[in-house]
């Protein structure tokens, strides 16, 4: 379906691929400058710092949480932010800061798993499709059909089959990431396939496996990685929306989307219960998007709209 929404300009798969370096291993020096070039971009630097702090806080949650995220204290329910509870307490008196820390852990893990597994699977499909011309139409047709299912729908379907839970959301995120990455990877790989060094590799008798790994995949990696970075924020948004709909982590487990949904019932009495986790999601996604944009600008300027 989407194949025929014709304009190539905005379609990831049809975009010009990364200029493939003349030799397969020539990409390395460009990457060395990445950190330095990112550091010069003030917004990217801020985003990176914010994201690093969030990730660290999530990793260290068990040690830095001021309270037990599951400890209920009905006497202290729905307290607004204070010195004792920086983010206030929720409707059962649990400390919001501790819950947000644990929730961020789950939300980040969910997004990372979705992007990584989906990315690897999608990249493999796309590269195989570009390398083996015979399976190409079949793979891409399946990809097109998968693209007909918006991510949230996939989430609903998976939750219907597996039952609600973090696993269902991760499966849904993986399934919805695969077709997009596959298109981008195939686009990049088709570009590399046309390069002379591919032919040279074949001429000196390299096996298909070596050609795919050392020549094709290595040269597509940066394009795919940039795309995955750009996708991370979206994946988090979809995942937390599924959590909000009740398809993800189940109470008392903490997950930001689900926490926002719980807070919705107390919105008028204690708005912070819904607002704090929502703000946390916003911060993660904003930082990820800004950083993703910056990485793209440095690594792959042609991916820009």
């Amino acid at each position: 379906m989407t194949t025929l929404s014709s304009p190539p300009a905005a379609m990831p798969a049809a975009l010009p691929t990364t200029a493939a370096p003349a030799t397969p291993e020539a990409a390395a020096p460009r990457r060395a400058g990445l950190i330095a070039r990112l550091a010069r971009d003030r917004i990217a630097l801020c985003a990176a710092v914010v994201l690093a702090v969030i990730v660290l806080a999530a990793l260290l949650a068990p040690w830095i949480s001021p309270y037990d995220p599951y400890f209920t204290d009905l006497g202290a329910a729905m307290q607004p932010p204070s010195a004792a509870h920086w983010f206030g307490t929720d409707n059962t008196g649990r400390d919001m800061l501790s819950r947000v820390l644990y929730g961020t852990r789950n939300t980040l893990m969910m997004g990372l798993a979705g992007v990584l597994f989906g990315g690897v699977l999608g990249a493999a499909l796309g590269i195989v499709a570009a390398f083996y011309k015979r399976v190409d139409p079949w793979i891409m047709r399946v990809v097109d059909i998968l693209l007909a299912f918006p991510a949230i729908l996939i989430g609903l379907a998976v939750a219907a089959i597996l039952g609600s839970g973090l696993t269902a959301v991760i499966v849904a995120l993986v399934v919805s990431t695969v077709p997009d990455v596959a298109r981008v990877a195939r686009g990049a790989a088709v570009g590399v396939m046309g390069q002379e060094f591919m032919e040279a590799g074949r001429a000196v008798g390299l096996s298909n496996r070596a050609l795919i790994w050392r020549y094709l995949t290595l040269n597509c990696v940066s394009t795919i990685a940039v795309f995955m970075t750009l996708r991370f924020g979206q994946v988090i948004l979809v995942g937390s929306a599924l959590g909000f709909l009740g398809m993800g982590a189940q109470p008392p487990e903490a997950e930001l989307g689900m926490m926002a949904s719980q807070g919705r019932d107390f919105l008028f009495m204690a708005p912070h219960i819904a607002t704090v986790p929502s703000l946390a999601i916003f911060a993660i996604v904003l930082a990820a998007n800004l950083l993703g944009d910056a990485v793209r600008d440095v690594l792959d300027p042609r991916l820009q709209q």
Binding site: M1, T2, D144, A148, F149, L156, A241, R264
Partner: protein, 312 residues
């Protein structure tokens, strides 16, 4: 124009079949055996077997799939396991509000995004430009439900300006107030990306030769921007709306759930929570079909806006 639409409809047939097949599979892999559900939990195995035969569940999968397509084509989607109403009936009741919500969202978001983007492009580098860019970056990073929560809390509850639960009726029957907040929530997904893309597109077009010509022949600046720059900038924007249709549909599910909007998305979520599989399957199918239809409309619109496509 006509043959083109027919061709595009035909091209989308494989995707349609794929959607139907995946929906069909959904019921196959669901953890509960439909025959067992009909027979009841403590039925004898022979009885379950008989019912399975009776329901045609013992036939090869492909035959069952053909049968399923046949039934869907006739509008037979089974019965809800909760309300015992026919799923087709439930969908017919809920699809209207969903379409209304999505159209409402676009009616709010597209003009707003176009205006903001054009303003930013025309006043490039000014504080307007910077504000629009910042707003659009923030917009794509906001969870839909956060926008909804803020609107409900402030506009709906504290300032008491607009209703925020349920739908009082169709727009033409006084339902407009109840539509505004949900539509604004859903539209917020689109405003940012549209504004950002319009800005880029207008900037690009403003540098083009034909715009210089238009100015040189003494056209008013407003005419140059509206007729020359914006018209050409619309093409990528339409494509974007098509590409964003997935987010719009996903957002609709969340928005409907938040605002108790009686649409297909809320039906789907409710059906999954209550394990009402026939309803869930029907609702998911309709939403996927809606996505295909939106893409089709976008393709056709694209030809209307850019006649070059037709010739290609």
């Amino acid at each position: 124009m006509g043959p083109l639409i027919v061709r595009r409809v035909l091209v989308s047939m494989p995707a349609l079949l794929g959607v139907l097949f995946l929906c069909f599979c959904l019921l196959q892999v669901v953890p509960t055996d439909p025959a067992l559900l009909v027979a009841g939990g403590d039925a004898k195995p022979e009885v379950v077997e008989a019912i399975r035969k009776d329901m045609g569940l013992d036939r090869p999968m492909l035959v069952q799939f053909g049968d399923y397509i046949f039934r869907v084509a006739q509008g037979d989607l089974g019965r809800s396991m909760i309300s015992n109403k026919s799923v087709a009936e439930e969908l017919a009741e809920t699809i209207g509000p969903t379409v209304e919500l999505m159209v409402g969202a676009m009616v709010l978001a597209v003009p707003l995004g176009l205006v903001l983007g054009t303003l930013a492009a025309v006043k490039r580098g000014s504080w307007v430009d910077r504000a629009v860019v910042a707003l659009s970056v923030a917009g794509v990073s906001m969870p839909v439900f956060f926008v909804g929560l803020l609107l409900i809390q402030y506009v709906g509850y504290l300032w008491d300006l607009l209703p925020f639960t349920g739908r009082t009726g169709p727009v033409w029957a006084g339902g407009l107030p109840s539509l505004i907040l949900p539509a604004l929530t859903l539209g917020s997904v689109l405003i940012g990306p549209i504004a950002r893309l319009t800005r880029t597109a207008v900037l690009e077009v403003l540098g083009a030769d034909f715009v210089r010509t238009a100015r040189a022949k003494g056209l008013r600046e407003s005419a140059v921007i509206i007729h020359h720059a914006l018209r050409n900038a619309l093409i990528p924007v339409v494509t974007l709306v098509g590409l964003q249709a997935a987010f719009l549909l996903g957002g609709a599910v969340v928005t409907e759930t938040m605002f108790s909007w009686p649409g297909v998305g809320r039906l789907a979520v409710g059906a999954i929570v209550t394990s009402d599989y026939p309803t869930a399957q029907g609702a998911i199918m309709i939403l996927a079909l809606a996505f295909l239809v939106i893409n089709l409309i976008v393709d056709v619109l694209y030809v209307v806006l850019d006649p070059r496509v037709q010739r290609a």
